[in-house]
């Protein structure tokens, strides 16, 4: 149950302050210091000031309406995740070992649904309930960081209680702590990290190495055999990095310049397609010789074929996270927090990462991974080394108006 729900506004604020910056928060603050917990505390009033019409949210001031938490009475949890994003048993794909163990240990029955296929589409599905201040029927959802940011901005995510997240507080990788869309990680915890890199099929390029975004867009030898990603953040972010700009902080002019480069590649017939996850089959077949790709996919492709190579461009790469968050009005927030915390145990995280193959956001999981599969523990796309970490950049967090303006321009370039 939300401890602040029944208190008058000023009292609740005072409580919050003391929890996030007072003595009660000392241990958490020390832990978060490296990652910029101060920024998180500073963002509190900013979030409260978010301009959201009252009719639009369940909350009073843009803060998520914390519904009554029934976790104590109802040992249940509805968890919506992406397909193929959790470990399954080799023999029976309906058995999910880490999740089974969580249910045994905690006694919480998890209704696990793989119904997130696309951030925007999923948002469209739950938005009507959120806007009407109703329960979405989901206690925990996994969404990409930009979409998690949108829910937070609208006050449609519930603030997580650090007291229920002892493992997560300690084990969250420092570099994921100060996320632009959720400073200080007050509302979200990463499920996995995603890196956008350049990948190519050796056979299709005739042994030629593809090492930069510029080469994707300009190399004549790759004409008509290059795909970029339909996600604006990924393609524009990588283009900006290639141009020496920062995707974390850029101007409208920078955006237009990056856009013009992509447009030129379209006009020159250099690009074959803009893709979502569906580039994988074409890359294996060689219809796509080189592309922008998500690291986790590449790990799995490399297990299947020797032809696929990936390159971290010298100028850097883009990374993002898929975040767990509790939607407004969800009935079982504490149960959700228990599950989040469970997946921040290094042994559980390693087991998950060994199956999912995306970047593991949990400190200590690498040591555990050595016990499961030593080769995966040294795989930079799951446990990035220092050099790779340094090259990673994130895309800036935008408000909806800016995102709409950019998406409008972007959609015209990708042909629609």
């Amino acid at each position: 149950m939300d401890p602040f729900a029944s208190l008058p506004e000023p009292v609740a604020r005072a409580w919050e302050r003391s929890l996030t910056s007072g003595r009660a928060a000392v241990s958490r603050r020390r832990l978060l210091a490296a990652g910029g917990a101060l920024a998180g505390a500073a963002a509190l009033p900013a979030l409260g000031a978010c301009g959201i019409p009252a009719a639009d949210t369940g909350g009073e001031d843009g803060e998520a309406a914390a519904a009554r938490d029934y976790s104590g009475k109802e040992k249940e949890l509805a968890f919506s995740n992406w397909p193929l994003y959790i470990d399954v048993d080799d023999e029976n794909e309906n058995v999910r070992p880490t999740l089974e163990r969580f249910q045994e240990r905690s006694g919480i029955r998890v209704a696990y649904t793989e119904d997130v296929n696309d951030n925007v589409e999923f948002f469209g599905r739950i938005k009507p309930q959120l806007a009407a201040g109703q329960d979405t029927g989901r206690d925990l959802v996994c969404l990409s960081d930009f979409m998690a940011g949108r829910l937070i901005r609208h006050g449609w995510a519930q603030r997580l209680d650090p007291r229920n997240l002892p493992h997560a507080n300690v084990n969250l990788e420092p570099r994921f702590r100060n996320a632009a869309h959720d400073p200080g990680r007050q509302f979200t915890m990463p499920w996995a990290g995603l890196a956008t890199v350049v990948a190519y099929n050796k056979k299709a390029t005739g042994g030629r190495e593809v090492s930069s975004v510029a080469q994707l867009m300009e190399d004549e030898a790759l004409k008509g055999k290059v795909s970029l990603l339909t996600e604006m953040q990924d393609t524009i972010g990588m283009t900006l990095i290639d141009m020496g700009k920062s995707p974390t902080k850029f101007t409208d002019d920078d955006f237009d310049a990056a856009l013009a480069r992509v447009q030129k590649a379209v006009d020159d017939d250099q690009l074959r397609r803009f893709t979502g996850n569906d580039y994988t089959e074409e890359l294996v077949k060689g219809d796509i010789a080189a592309c922008l790709a998500w690291a986790g996919d590449i790990v799995q492709l490399q297990l299947d074929t020797d032809d696929i190579e990936f390159v971290i461009p010298a100028k850097g790469y883009l990374y993002a996270t898929d975040d767990l968050l509790v939607p407004a009005r969800a009935r079982h927030k504490t149960n959700a927090e228990k599950l989040i915390d469970y997946y921040y145990r290094p042994d559980v995280a390693a087991e998950l990462a060994a199956w999912v193959n995306y970047i593991c956001p949990v400190v200590g999981a690498r040591a555990e991974m050595k016990k499961i599969d030593a080769s995966l523990a040294d795989y930079p796309l799951i446990f990035p080394d220092r050099q790779m970490i340094d090259k990673g950049q994130v895309f800036m967090s935008m408000n909806d108006d800016k995102e709409t303006a950019y998406q409008d321009k972007w959609s015209k370039v990708i042909g629609a």
Binding site: P53, R273, F274, D287, D401, T404, D408, G415
Partner: protein
């Protein structure tokens, strides 16, 4: 209900208006369909119409401001997409007719006891989802696949490239692939109405025409074709209308240069979150199709479509 019963003094033989209860029966029978239409067609249409004249932003919400500029702007920006959609849909419809008519003719008149099997084969692709069927074409048309290899050796791809249908010795991500995908996916919608109208043509009429010394071609031109016109009109409509709104084929088999208006509407709704423009585009698409269909039906001069 007794109050509604016919007055006792009315003689049954007297011709007059039917008793009120019987007069109402058709409306009761219409009710389920009418309700269904109201809830799932009329209401969304009104909602969509209202959205199309709104302005505002996703963050602040949209309001009805009767902003008709949504329409002119959408038309201005996406004229090319509209033209492309109708062009591809028309091409696919013509191809469907060219492939479907002989096939339907054969099934109707020459198939004999194989008729049932052949009809099942026509419908069989529907057992697989639309998406899967389209994805399968990516494998068939793959750059390194046998089909592209064969066409390349036969220099067919050079010819299509000269016509602007393909580029770079490939089939995928070209206009040709999109049109072929549309043709394939909507072919059954052409064949079935053609078959039903051809199947109803009495073979005796053919014999009669031959007895009157008509050559086979004349029999077809003067007897079979006119009698099958309702099927042709229904088939072309069932193919053209969904094909012009389709976005799956352009998405999977086309390049950024082959995107159709359906893709643009989808992007506006889901990614740009500009609902008014998306709604205006949907209405423009509907209006354009409605006008074309009306003109076409008038021209085709077929009253007995059913």
């Amino acid at each position: 209900m007794t109050a509604l019963a016919a007055p006792p003094e009315a003689t049954p033989e007297a011709p007059g208006p039917p008793p009120p209860r019987r007069r109402l029966t058709p409306y009761w029978l219409l009710l389920p369909a009418a309700l269904w239409l109201l809830v799932f067609f009329a209401a969304p249409l009104v909602y969509q119409a209202s959205t199309s004249v709104q302005s505002g932003s996703f963050e602040e919400g949209f309001e009805v401001t009767w902003r008709w500029a949504n329409y002119t702007e959408a038309l201005d920006t996406y004229a090319e997409h509209f033209a492309r959609s109708f062009g591809y849909a028309a091409a696919a419809t013509v191809l469907c007719l060219a492939i479907g008519y002989p096939l339907a003719y054969m099934i109707a008149f020459r198939a004999g006891r194989w008729r049932g099997v052949l009809l099942v084969l026509v419908i069989a692709p529907f057992f697989t989802s639309f998406l899967i069927r389209t994805l399968a074409w990516k494998t068939i048309l793959s750059d390194n696949g046998p089909l592209v290899g064969a066409l390349d050796t036969l220099h067919v791809l050079d010819v299509t490239a000269t016509l602007g249908l393909t580029t770079d010795d490939r089939l995928l991500a070209t206009p040709l692939a999109v049109v072929c995908g549309l043709t394939y996916n909507f072919l059954p919608f052409m064949i079935l109405p053609l078959y039903t109208s051809l199947e109803r043509v009495d073979p005796g009429l053919h014999e009669a025409a031959q007895d009157l010394y008509a050559r086979p071609l004349t029999v077809f031109r003067r007897v079979t074709l006119p009698l099958s016109m309702p099927g042709v009109v229904a088939g072309t409509l069932l193919t053209f209308i969904p094909a012009s709104g389709d976005y799956i084929n352009a998405q999977l088999l086309g390049s950024p240069k082959e995107q159709m208006v359906g893709n643009a509407i989808q992007k506006q709704f889901l990614n740009v979150l500009d609902y008014p423009t998306a709604a205006a585009m949907s209405f423009l698409l509907m209006a354009a199709i409605l006008i074309m269909v009306t003109v076409y039906i008038r021209r085709a001069g077929t009253e007995e479509l059913v």
